[in-house]
């Protein structure tokens, strides 16, 4: 009797493990919409982001939340976050998504390496948000001061502005010690690097959410020297909306691109005029997204504020500035990383960007009475410890 109880227990425990195993087998459903040939308007589209939901992508989440996509005739818009597992331009090339948000230099590298063709149809961020942050008094106020110093960089294609800026100053990885840092700012705070890479809208806030042990209060911007790559020759265009070049010949896809850009423009305009509300819409999307773990609401408001500064540079929303584009190309051609590898060795195809779609979208919006340019009036965001 006791024997059979034990055997029963063995069977149950094996069954329990098998049950847990099977319960893990429910894969998340992934479906991508495809158009149906003739000029039947596309109603289902998907957008691949380059990171997890945060205010960096507020415009898209606002457009979803405020029904702007529906106004432009989309029934279903799938915004797909990435945790580093999905490379947006690769997903777009593979046809898994219809549009993707990605940094220009990263995509240029992919296009040259794979021979694929993608088109930048809207340059959401007009300015670069990358900084190199060091403690005040260490004398790193300019890229030229990097010489002989230990400079932190993230890698994963986020590092090219550093190398482009260094190349313009005649520096390379033999005269500057480049070290990989993680996405926290501990490397700078612990003195493992002389200057750490940071985005104005994320890591820069993170460091200002840390208590300064000497004052007992949060670190202040005055405690640091900041090199903004936007002010250097290394500045490169960042968040852009990419479309599949070959598919743009399909009138249905081209039409969807214009309507998509109209909705997105309205989303970003909302974010410009209501930064706090837009930040909270995005924060709500983020906390309900699967395993996103965003930083708290105050941090999102800071991010929204900083992102708006990068988007609204005075001109029309999303139009690719030819001089900024060629500056990016020039920097990308000059940049050589610590392994001696070039980002790109030749000019990208002329199809790599087109203002046709965003200009059509903006003209249609202007007809509808929407103001598509303008300056952003920054708000004051007071950071709190931990950003909660």
């Amino acid at each position: 009797m006791r024997h059979s109880t034990r055997r029963g227990l063995t069977v149950t425990s094996v069954a329990a493990i098998a049950a847990i195993a099977l319960s893990a087998c429910t894969a998340p459903a992934t479906d991508t919409s495809t158009d149906s040939g003739d000029f039947e308007p596309i109603t289902d589209i998907s957008l691949q982001l380059q990171w997890l939901p945060q205010a960096q992508f507020a415009g898209y989440y606002v457009a979803l939340d405020q029904g702007y996509f529906e106004e432009e005739g989309f029934d279903n818009v799938d915004i797909i976050p990435s945790g580093g597992d999905i490379v947006p331009q690769d997903a777009l090339v593979a046809g898994d998504v219809d549009f993707a948000v990605a940094w220009v230099p990263k995509v240029l590298g992919t296009l040259e390496a794979t021979g694929a063709e993608l088109t930048d149809i809207a340059q959401v961020y007009q300015k670069s948000g990358t900084l190199q942050v060091s403690f005040k008094g260490d004398g790193l106020t300019d890229v030229a001061d990097f010489e002989g110093k230990r400079i932190g960089s993230w890698g994963f294609g986020n590092e090219w502005e550093i190398f482009a800026a260094m190349a313009a100053d005649g520096l390379d990885a033999s005269s500057v010690s480049i070290t990989t840092q993680d996405f926290s700012m501990n490397a700078l705070l612990d003195g493992d690097v002389d200057a750490a890479q940071a985005m104005t809208y994320n890591e820069w806030a993170q460091i200002l959410e840390v208590v300064n042990p000497t004052t007992g209060k949060l670190y202040q911007p005055e405690d640091f020297d900041v090199v903004s790559y936007e002010d250097t020759d290394g500045a490169m265009l960042q968040d852009a909306i990419w479309a599949d070049t070959a598919r743009l010949d399909d009138p249905a896809y081209a039409d969807a691109a214009v309507r998509f850009l109209k909705a997105v423009t309205k989303g970003w305009i909302f974010a410009r005029d209501n930064p706090e509300e837009a930040a909270s819409i995005t924060y709500n999307a983020a906390i309900n997204a699967e395993a996103a773990f965003p930083v708290g609401p105050v941090h999102q408001t800071w991010q929204m504020n900083e992102v708006n500064k990068l988007i609204w540079a005075g001109g029309d929303f999303g139009v690719i500035d030819a001089s900024a584009w060629s500056k990016t190309i020039k920097g990308a051609l000059a940049a050589v990383n610590q392994d001696g590898i070039n980002l790109i060795t030749g000019e990208p195809a002329t199809s790599a960007y087109s203002n046709k779609y965003i200009e059509t979208a903006l003209a249609e919006l202007a007809d509808e009475g929407v103001v598509v340019d303008g300056e952003y009036a920054p708000i004051d965001v007071v950071l709190t410890e931990g950003g909660q």
Partner: protein, 297 residues
Amino acid sequence: MTRQRAAIAWGVLGVVAIMVIWEVYKFLGPAEGFVVGAITGQTGSGVMLLPRTNDRAMPHIWEMVARLFQSTSGGDTPPLIVPVVTAGLLTLGIAAVGWLIGVSVGALLGLVMQRWRLAEWGLLPWIVVSQTVPLIAFAPIVNSIGTQIDRGGTPWPQWLSVALIASYLAFFPVAVGVLRGLEAPDRIHLDLMRTYAAGYWPTLLRLRLPAAVPHLLPALRLAAASAVVGAVVAEVSIGMRGGIGRMLIQLAGQGSSDPAAPWGPTFGSIALGLVAAGSVALIGFGLKNYRRGEATA
């Protein structure tokens, strides 16, 4: 019964000892660590012998525990422990799949190696060598092979890559354990079976398998622990979201301003290893009759 109580007491004592050591070192140790061979003016030079004890590197234990019950991302998000448990269960499920695959493959390899000496000579060195391949190099390869298969029809789910990588670690102790276990019976018992004219299968079922149990159970426990480690590392290196490994990395990215947060998933993965090894112990409970002279894992 008293032995059981003693075991629990020792277990608790061990945890308390670690906590005391942590806090004592944090109190006495150098805040910025102890570095030898540093060259002045050259950041990052030298070798750090003693780790840093500042609050970013080593939060107080009570802060780490309190963080578990504070909201995950501010606002009215659930306390950190909720996503830790959810993520932990997902990883546990994947590790269990990996464990099942690993145990099946390992047991099969063990059987084959015991049956044919030539197979043992040919396979065993490779099995040992297989464990020296670094997991972080191996994981992306498995995943990219998987996604290439995907283009055919049913997509290859990411968790399956993670499970496969977990099984890659899990099969090793089982293969070796089964081989040693099946070879455990005394010569005299094998000879007895031969005098009964018992063939391979009856000998396997009635003699070798029962004799293998004491070797098998520690192997299964090791496999369970390895499967959890494999699943956590694989999640991180292929970037699969939802599991505890990825959660750890994501929270570590916010670690400057919220240093206690990454410890939540860290504790979660410790708990995971314990649960996994504990579930396997249940199997052992059912096989108690065969557990004479069990080898320690």
